[in-house]
């Protein structure tokens, strides 16, 4: 699978990242690095412990990472979650969480598939 196909699958913006990061190898390096990024797990953990402030910071980081990787769909989900948690709206966040979870898993699976060739 090509990088471009991966971006199609996860509804990211390949053209955008290509323009910004310039080199294919560099894009690949960071996309693969996303598998090791812990901000999503950090958010889940803080959420389960009821620590909204830490959860906010973690999902905020996730949002920034997605933005940099042009993962537009996940970025959008993370953004919604960020705003809910920023406002301290736990109820709203609980509603959004399943969507974010699904979207995140899709990304991870697609990237793994790409990694395996």
């Amino acid at each position: 699978m090509m990088l471009e196909e991966l971006y199609q699958e996860i509804a990211g913006n390949y053209q955008d990242i290509r323009e910004r990061l310039r080199k294919e190898e560099r894009i690949e390096k960071f996309v693969l690095l996303f598998l090791k990024d812990t901000s999503y797990q950090d958010m889940l953990q803080a959420w389960e412990q009821g620590n909204l402030e830490t959860a906010f910071r973690a999902v905020h980081t996730l949002k920034g990472v997605c933005m940099n990787l042009s993962f537009d769909k996940l970025y959008k989900a993370a953004s919604e979650m960020t705003e809910c948690l920023r406002a301290g709206d736990a109820e709203g966040a609980a509603k959004i969480l399943p969507k974010l979870e699904k979207c995140y898993e899709e990304h991870i699976q697609a990237i793994r598939k790409y990694q395996e060739g």
Binding site: I17, R20, F30, R57, G64, V65, M67, N68
Partner: protein, 693 residues
């Protein structure tokens, strides 16, 4: 090989490793990259690298310490003036960006990162800053040059006037210094006059012109030794308006701020607050504050200087004359300022006089330094600061001491490496009064108390020694915190934090306690000694007025015989034995002391039946020790009948003991006026002469 292009270090601060990696990847070809994953780590790196860092890329939302707080720290340490900061954040809201700029950020890059934009902005900012640094130093040098010639012109001109007046030549300098002191103090008291440092400095300089109008007054009048006639005085009075006209009619420069201030001063430095001055009879706030300050300074200096028509008055006399209104009326607030600075005036004026001699030399040194053009002044200051920082860190690391630095804004404590390790806490502690790590070492109350004490110091005596129990490595340790409050010297003196160190005084305290105990003990019997017992008894009588006590003195009958027949070593053993029995027969609150060779004192509290208690102690003291028959004679005085004065109680007990001896020994007697004569000799032979009444 040394890569010249990598000479610049860039610090990337972002809590996401991924984001740091992307930026590092974009920049690492040209720059050396330092990374920090939160604000505290960033401040730590800034501490250790200082201005070696050429640029900071700073995220806003981070754990521990966020980007705004990092900016605040950077401005506190003045890094922000030398190290540009570019904010990077997914926050694009206007207010966030605005706040970052307000706190001193140079630029803002929003996510997602674009390689071209990131590299371009970084290069631009670094170049801009280095250009700016060069420009600043060039301007500073030029300003220094022009400043120097300005001051020179001012002093030449004013000295011409002065020498013509036959004045000492110090008058102009004194007035400048006094004016500056008065206005600085005034600024601390009120914001009403919009006095900043530059304005005060300008007024003080312009003060030199106050008497230039005297150039038009004939020398006969100026230097007349006696009183001026009314006519002469009228001529003399024209000097203020004349001087002002001279400045107003300057063909060039009359719009310069310095000239304008000088005009005010010339024209109105003889006006008085109540409107009785000249030339215009202005009143109160109609008189510019510059002229008011100079006129007060002029009045003071005229009084303490010798003139052809008068002798010099003392500083104290001059002050009281002015404050009593003998020199006309002045602004009440300025008079307050004069009283406030009264103690410093003489010192400051004498410093200024001395400086004149060395002025030339200072100029020479400065000139020599300035001839090294590549070493421009601001860079020089920087490199000196850098050197100081390295020195400080070096000594701190060698010292094996807990050293700390506290800043009020942002509220933060920085602890030396060694100290942090010793205490087992972080080097950087934000918001200390809420920090759990720190609170496990020192209680919140103590921390707040120390802060209060520091705030109550003054810039003149800023050092505080504070003793407190700290919890170090799981044990309570007596510690002394020696700390110095830092007072900022900006426009207003303000408490900005403190530095200090923590010294362990546990051993010292222990030793002190041991010495205290030692000083209170009789070495043979381990009972209290007489002097200490006396102090304690007086203390108890005073502290517990509700309690009734009995003071008992007793001695061992036939003790002399024991010493003579069986030797002193045996005698000592008898005394020790007796002391042990005594100790086991009194309550812990009671006092037992050895006050003479074989004399003892007891001080016991009693409720009702003192007879019974005394009888019990008496029989405990009676018996046998190693073939020696123990027998004592006792005298007792009670607070219920003899009052609460120590000397009375002691005297009565002594008399009662004498009565017991007379009765044939081996008995006890309560003091009573009838059975105890007051002319009996004292039975006590003190060990300690200071114990005698």
């Amino acid at each position: 090989m040394y890569d010249k292009r990598k000479i610049n270090k860039i610090l990337i601060v972002d809590d996401s490793e991924m984001n740091r990696a992307i930026l590092a990847d974009m920049l690492s070809e040209q720059y050396e990259i330092l990374e920090a994953d939160n604000g505290i780590a960033a401040v730590q790196l800034l501490h250790s690298y200082g201005t070696e860092i050429s640029l900071v890329l700073l995220d806003i939302v981070m754990p521990e310490m966020d980007g705004f707080e990092v900016l605040a720290m950077m401005s506190r340490y003045h890094w922000i003036e030398e190290i540009p900061v570019i904010m990077i954040s997914a926050e694009n809201s206007h207010s966030v960006v605005e706040r970052a700029y307000e706190l001193g950020a140079t630029d803002y890059i929003s996510r997602p990162f674009d390689e071209v934009i990131v590299c371009r902005r970084v290069i631009n900012t670094i170049m801009l800053y280095s250009k700016q640094k060069k420009l600043i130093s060039m301007v500073a040098d030029q300003m220094y040059e022009s400043e120097k010639s300005n001051t020179l012109m001012v002093s030449i001109l004013s000295h011409i006037v002065e020498f013509r007046n036959g004045e000492s030549g110090l008058h102009v300098l004194h007035i400048g210094t006094m004016t500056e002191l008065l206005l600085k103090r005034l600024r601390e008291k009120t914001d009403a006059y919009d006095l900043d440092t530059a304005k005060i400095s300008m007024i003080s300089k312009a003060a030199a012109f106050h008497d230039i109008g005297k150039i038009s007054i004939s020398e006969n009048i100026l230097n007349k030794p006696g009183r001026l006639t009314e006519e002469e005085f009228e001529i003399m009075k024209t000097h203020s308006a004349v001087g002002a006209d001279m400045l107003e009619n300057l063909p060039l420069h009359k719009d310069e701020p310095l000239v304008k201030v000088a005009y005010e001063i010339c024209r109105w430095h003889h006006e008085r607050y109540d409107g009785r001055g000249y030339p215009d009879g202005l009143k109160g706030e109609e008189i510019p504050i510059s002229a008011q300050a100079v006129s007060l300074a002029d009045a003071y200096d005229a009084l303490i200087s010798e003139r052809v028509y008068k002798k010099a008055f003392s500083h104290e006399k001059a002050l009281s004359m002015i404050l009593n209104g003998e020199c006309g009326s002045f602004h009440p607030l300025l008079l307050e300022c004069l009283s406030d600075i009264a103690d410093h005036i003489q010192e400051k004026l004498s410093i200024n006089s001395l400086n004149r001699g060395s002025e030339k030399e200072i100029h020479n040194i400065v000139e020599r330094l300035l001839s090294h053009k590549e070493l421009a002044s601001s860079n020089r200051t920087l490199s000196m600061l850098e050197e100081e920082r390295i020195k400080f860190q070096f000594f701190a690391s060698m010292a094996s001491e807990i050293q700390f630095e506290y800043s009020v804004v942002p509220s933060m404590i920085t602890i030396s490496d060694w100290g942090a390790e010793k205490l087992g806490i972080s080097r950087f502690i934000v918001n200390p009064s809420e920090n759990q790590e720190l609170l496990s070492i020192i209680s919140k109350e103590k921390m707040i108390e120390l802060d209060q004490i520091l705030r109550c110091t003054t810039p003149d005596s800023p050092i505080v020694e504070y003793e407190v129990e700290l919890n170090v490595e799981g044990a309570t340790r007596f510690s002394r915190i020696i700390s110095r409050a830092l007072w900022s010297h900006g426009d207003k003196t303000e408490y900005s934090g403190a530095i200090g160190k923590i010294v362990d005084i546990q051993e010292e305290q222990k030793e002190l306690k041991r010495l205290k105990e030692l000083a209170s003990m009789d070495p043979l019997t381990n009972l209290l000694n007489g002097a200490y017992a006396k102090k304690e008894i007086i203390h108890m009588l005073y502290t517990y007025p509700e309690n009734e006590y009995a003071l008992i003195i007793f001695d061992l009958d036939y003790f002399k015989t024991v010493n003579n027949e069986r030797g002193h070593v045996f005698g000592d053993r008898v005394l020790k034995y007796l002391a042990e029995r005594l100790k086991s027969n009194i309550r812990t609150d009671d006092l037992a002391a050895r006050i003479g060779g074989d004399e003892f004192l007891l001080f016991v509290r009693y409720d009702r039946n003192i007879e019974q208690a005394v009888s019990r102690i008496f029989s405990a003291m009676t018996g046998e020790y190693d073939g020696f028959k123990l027998s004592v004679s006792m005298g007792i005085a009670k607070t219920t009948t003899e009052g609460r004065k120590y000397s009375d109680l002691y005297h009565c007990a002594d008399l009662a003991l004498f009565a017991a001896k007379r009765k044939g020994q081996g008995c006890y007697v309560f003091y009573d006026k009838k059975n105890c004569t007051s002319n009996a000799p004292t039975t006590i032979s003190p060990i300690d002469p200071s114990f005698e009444e």
